[in-house]
Amino acid sequence: MNPQVERIEVYVDDATEPVQVLTQPPFKVRLDTRTLPDGEHALRIVTVFKSGAKEERRLTFFVDNLPDVALEGLDEDQRVNGEVEFDVKVGEYQAPIEPGRTSPWLYVVATVVVLFLVWLFFAVSPTSEEIASQMAPSGGATEESVAQGSGAPVDQALFDKGKDIYAQSCAACHQAGGEGVPGAFPALKGNKLLGDLKGTLTIITEGKGGMPAFKDFSDEDLAALLTYIRNDFGNSFGGVSVDDVKEALGKGGSTAAAGGGEDLAALIKTGEEVYAQNCAACHQAGGEGIPGAFPALKGNQNLKDKKLVIDRILNGVGAMPPFGSSLDDAQVAAVATYLRAKLNDFGPVSESDVKAER
């Protein structure tokens, strides 16, 4: 409290006598507005200081204790004549406030119960347990699948062949036990990337980083090697068939049409001979072409289009003469296969493919 204050006088309207005089804190004023008529009133609070000085604060307020009347049957500014009858409705003075039909506590309890039930459902329901069991760490999941085994059954003959290939071509870097050399050669043991057949195949055939590309492996070699590395060293990603390899390399249907792996090798050999006699003079023996004059065939993405290759051989283009009349279907298929499968990584071409283009 300000020690300079002597007293505080509270006046209502223009009364000369204060309704309350406060001399010490708390300066709490209790005013029963029911003693005042409804309407606007003024409150004057006069602070008297010990020095005799006074300060006056004035504010107006509005008392509304009695309910207003409502008229039914007569409106404001309505024109009337003759006898008029209307209802006057007045609310009850100090009518008790009607208690709410529902206790607010009921809302609180209901909310808590509903939320608890939701919580409980997610905490104990078998569905959430099922979801939780699927949230095992990814590393653990791989080991689990390695332990349980997954994928296709393993062909033992392919597995054994793959073991030999691995010992000759891979073990020097990836180690006999597949554990690799940390920091230099990645481990194959427990390597979850092996689950990706296509990715693994790409790494073997195209190389990666310090690893060379093994382009000379036949589809069967690749299937054998993949079967071995995916199912030894504690891995269990399932067997890989020659068809799987062909499919992953994107030459499934064509290879089937052209025959098996041995037929393919024969076809490429024939194609190589046809190429040497008819094409190598311009496109060069290795298919590298002469820049600006004869396009390279090795590493040429246009050769991915089988029909285009056959069409160019049969009908020629620009300076290239047509070979449709000098080569039969088998020779065209052979040279096209040589270009696509040997000089590039695309699938072989069958005689029926050539026949269809003639």
């Binding site: 939701v118 919580w119 409980l120 997610f122 905490a123 959430s128 939780a132 990337l193 690893m211």
Partner: protein, 160 residues
């Protein structure tokens, strides 16, 4: 520049995205070098991620402030205006919060009784709980809590 200007938050989030992208490129490059996906992060990656997270949080706080208070503070009493849609969203978020909390407990129990649960998954669930709780608080602050601004906002070079 006002206290809740969005210029700095915008660039903070932009930097955050750039840093995260750098982290991803770094991871892809390391994967290519190693020939396998490494589980552990290098100190460089941790640094990139940490700064990305810091910038992200800084930017989000900025945008959050703007949403809650507006770009410019205006003196006076601000009465909240809750509506039916806000109430519905609040109820739904409360239910989601209860569900996520229950599920988090299930994850902990599963880990104790059955087997390990992916730390990343636990992090996602817990992060979601925090996010929903934060959203509920923000909705309460914006739509249910009255506010009074006493002084006029000053223009300054230093935001919030």
């Amino acid at each position: 520049m006002y206290r809740n200007d969005t210029v700095l938050p915008f660039f903070a989030i932009l930097f955050s995205i750039a840093l995260f992208y750098a982290f991803r490129l770094d991871a892809i490059h390391l994967e290519q070098l190693a020939g396998e996906a490494k589980e552990e992060l290098t100190p460089g990656q941790i640094g990139l991620l940490a700064f990305s997270a810091v910038f992200l949080v800084y930017g989000l706080i900025g945008y959050f402030s703007t949403w809650l208070e507006g770009v410019e503070l205006r003196p006076g009493r601000h009465v909240p205006e809750p509506g039916a849609a806000v109430a519905v969203v609040s109820v739904l978020l409360a239910v989601v919060l209860a569900g996520l909390s229950g599920f988090f407990v299930r994850l902990l129990l599963h880990q104790m009784t059955v087997g390990p649960v992916s730390s990343a998954a636990q992090g996602v669930v817990f992060g979601s709980i925090m996010l929903v709780a934060a959203l509920l608080l923000a909705i309460y602050k914006k739509y249910y809590l009255g506010d009074e601004v006493l002084i006029e906002d000053e223009h300054s070079e230093v935001p919030w």
